[in-house]
């Protein structure tokens, strides 16, 4: 029987993480056991369940758990800088409130995410906290509503501990594009955590919160998950409501989640997924209980993955991909019972340019509303066009401006057919080639990024090189498919090695299969 895969490697990654506080955390993981089907006896398989267990047994209070996370957060923030805003007093208050309810109502007070601290990417609206989208133009802006995903987490009992850093409006792959601060990778603070949901990934990686929400338009959840050695899930387009997510590219954006284990990530997905009447693009497909299908590794039969057809995407293991990454992927897939067959996706390389045209075009339109007139930062001027011009020039960052210009150009009269329309046609080709491959395979596999985390400042003056790093992830957004990234190995670099993530792509709404694998 092959050595247990995911859990084992997760454990290794936990031990390697530099922060000493982690040792303390593993003590928590020896828990009472709920039904064997849903809990692995191995350590740290699910933080959510261990928190729940402690609260139920009375071993710890929500206030204690919150205090522990907050103290770790404060200790690590000066070097990691995951958070734009920390709502510590709110978190403490909510934890105390939860403890009071547990005392009076007992078990019934515990929602599925009771006492779980959550980080929320700052492009998701939170009513009681500033939501800046990582941009100066929204500095201090407070929305009137919670985003649907945030509201559902709160209704399940989660405690939102703060807003995490991101590349401005989701545009970027390093989090260096934030107007406020640069987040560092907990594995090596001279390196990027990835982007655009860099803060959400690093917060989970550094154990500043239990799980977090991000958004994925071209890989913004999966690539940072890979760089930071955590689990990242990009759901099918329409699986999770986009209401309250500051739109970047409306036909590509999804709300995604990070966790330190697949179980936790799956639990979050179950809570936030589902139809929302406030989002006309959200799907009415039934939401299964994703985590319930997960079986503890120790009790697995010897060939659990028998019958599952797994295909490795040929175009992702060749030229341009770091050799260390490629060998990690190959090693990971060789563990799977069925030796992964190689499948080719013919339109693979077309995806990147098509993505950038479509995303920039939609972004140029979605960001038109940031003009300083009704909310946000305004620069006063003598006439109207100066007002628009100055407010936007002052409030929007360099990368954002570049993409707005590109997008405006691509949509302009005379160019629409050559760029936008053409890109949509390429998109159809990409979708078809995935559909084709997914008829023959249940899961397609690739790295999440062509390299491990690179140094801060390395790509900042070379946007095309930065864009090229999205090659593994954008096609999935174009096709609207779900994808899960799990840590699968390490490469050389940094004090303890740099994590590498394995991406598993499924057919629409097949998240449960990916999760089980």
């Amino acid at each position: 029987m092959p050595p247990p895969l995911q859990a084992h490697r997760l454990l290794i990654s936990h031990r390697r993480l530099p922060t000493p506080a982690r040792r303390r955390f593993s003590a928590v993981s020896s828990v009472q056991s709920p039904p064997a089907k849903t809990l692995a006896p191995g350590p740290a398989t699910s933080s959510i369940l261990s928190i729940r267990g402690s609260l139920l047994s009375g071993e710890r209070t929500a206030a204690e758990i919150t205090a522990e996370y907050l103290s770790r957060l404060r200790r690590t923030e000066p070097s990691v800088r995951s958070f734009i805003h920390v709502a510590d007093s709110d978190a403490v208050r909510e934890a105390e409130e939860l403890d009071r309810r547990i005392a009076s109502e007992g078990k019934d007070a515990l929602g599925p995410l009771a006492g779980v601290l959550v980080g929320v990417k700052d492009n998701l609206c939170t009513a009681n906290m500033p939501s800046t989208g990582g941009s100066r133009i929204l500095e201090g802006y407070r929305p009137a509503y919670d985003a649907t995903a945030v509201r559902r987490l709160r209704e399940a009992g989660a405690i939102v501990v703060g807003k995490t850093n991101l590349d401005e409006f989701g545009m970027g792959s390093t989090t260096e594009g934030s107007a406020f601060q640069v987040t560092t990778n907990p594995w090596d603070e001279s390196r990027v955590p990835g982007g655009s949901s860099g803060g959400s990934a690093s917060a989970v990686s550094a154990r500043q919160c239990v799980v977090s929400l991000g958004s994925d338009t071209g890989g913004s959840v999966r690539q940072p998950a890979s760089f930071c050695g955590v689990v990242g899930l990009k759901p099918t387009y329409g699986r999770v409501s986009r209401f309250g997510l500051m739109a970047y590219a409306s036909s590509l954006d999804v709300v995604g989640c990070f966790g330190s284990s697949v179980f936790d990530t799956a639990t979050i997905l179950s809570v936030v997924a589902g139809h929302d009447k406030m989002d006309s693009t959200s799907s009415s497909q039934n939401v299964p209980d994703y985590a319930s299908e997960l079986v503890p590794l120790d009790s697995l039969e010897s060939k659990p993955l028998n019958g599952l057809r797994i295909g490795i995407i040929q175009e992702t293991l060749g030229e341009g991909v770091d050799s260390g990454v490629a060998s990690s992927i190959k090693a990971a897939t060789s563990h799977l019972e069925q030796l992964g067959s190689v499948v080719s996706l013919p339109s693979f390389s077309l995806g990147l340019p098509a993505y950038y045209i479509l995303a920039s075009s939609e972004a140029s339109s979605n960001l038109s509303r940031y003009d300083g007139i009704r909310y946000g930062r305004q620069v006063s001027a003598d006439d109207l066009s100066e007002l628009y011009g100055e407010s936007r020039a002052n409030g929007l960052g360099h990368e954002v401006k570049m993409r707005i210009l590109m997008g405006t150009y691509a949509l302009s009269a005379g160019y629409y057919d050559a760029y936008y329309k053409r890109a949509q046609q390429v998109r159809t080709l990409v979708q078809e080639s995935f559909e084709d491959a997914l008829k023959r395979f249940d899961i397609l596999v690739s790295p999440a990024a062509p390299s491990a985390a690179y140094k801060i400042g390395e790509k900042i003056n070379d946007p095309l090189a930065m864009y090229a790093g999205d090659i593994m992830t954008v096609n999935v957004n174009l096709a609207g498919l779900p994808a899960l990234v799990v840590p699968c190995g390490f490469v050389e670099g940094g004090p303890a090695g740099l994590p590498v993530g394995l991406q598993m792509i499924g057919s629409p709404f097949s998240e449960e299969i990916a999760v089980c694998v």
Binding site: C125, A144, S280, S368, Y375, D383, Y416
Partner: protein, 468 residues
Amino acid sequence: MALTLLRGMRTPVLFRMNAGLFFTTLHRPSLARFTTRAESAQATEPKATPQSIQMAIKEAAEQKMQGFEAVIGIETHVQLSTVTKAFCSCPYNYGSQPNSTICPTCMGHPGMLPVLNEKVVECAVKLGLALNCEISMTSKFDRKQYFYPDLPKGYQISQFDIPIAKKGYIDLDLPMEFGGGHRKFGITRVHMEEDAGKLLHSDSGSYSQVDLNRAGVPLLEIVSEPDMRTGIEAAEYGAELQRIVRYLGVSNGNMQEGSLRCDVNVSVRPVGQSEFGTKILLHKEGQADQIVQETRLWDESSQKTFTMRKKEGLADYRYFPEPDLPEVVLNNDYIDEIHKSMPELPEAKRRRYENMGLSMQDVLFLANDDNVARFFDSTLEHGSDAKLAANWIMGDIAAYLKNEKLTIDEIKLSPLELSELIASIKNGTISGKIGKEASPYFVLILVELIANGGTVKAVIEEKDLVQV
């Protein structure tokens, strides 16, 4: 009525220099000079003065004399009277306090998404059917992009290349005082879109304020073929559209409130030429003069148009399909159901009244006002003769309404009692002892009924008028 509409319309006038695409879109004016379309279309619908009629006829005659004819097309925006806005659940009430019926969605806040109000589709299909259009079984929304303070998202959700209805026509009859005649004008398309907010400019001109109450209110845009040739035709087209939207109940069609706005595109060509476009217009002093493409504003007080903006190119709105809204997919059952629920339209009414033997003068008076038509039809239902009922309504009742400044649904006379009165006269219940001077008494009874209600029988008894 037609003339008041003519005065009420803004008439930007575009003179074409070369044959080719006839229409250009009307552009949002620059901040400095302008009030919104609704405010400038401030027709309070006073009665047409004889002077204006003479002027219009003179104009038409002059044109003919010079051998030119006008080619007119009209774009109309109809504001729908749905309970909530097109893409959010805010209400809309004309005249509310500024910025009191708004929400983050119609204000274009971050993270907000539009959700289509299904009533808008229903109204669009109704209007499309009423205008004899082909209804598109699938249509989509597009974003029309430009920057202006009354447009919160920086784009307007509209329909560009696949409108919900197209290729229709409208039947109408010109008023008798202008020579009458039946006309049929083509309708190019009908599409759904959302309205923008309003700008209120300070008197000093040093600042302007944005009121977003109207942002997001559903509109239907109706584009006509350039089939009209005179101002009268254009005016009657507008009047008929107003009638139709009121009949259907999709809009109150009030120009003063901005519920109905017309933009008129005019070009001039020699009579007999089939292409559009102008060549040269002879100046008064006999000098040849070039005609320049431009947008002109109508000034209510001086009753003239003046140049607003010259040499407009086509604006680039960077249309692309709206990714936040799915396609609008209709099926035949849906359309049939709407068809069944539609009331009798003005054209059908006019033809029905014509078939009863009424004169065109009568037909137009009775059919063109929904309330009058209802009163008339109701009277007929109680058994009255059409011609007699028509005479009473158009004669003494109309006179009373005019004097007292009332509408027909505000008087106390009911159709039943009118039919009773007509019957009583016919079967001689009243005339008898009164003899030749009966008619003043009929009017007396009528006035009594109008003012105070009651029944014919009661009034007759009271006034002691029964035939002996």
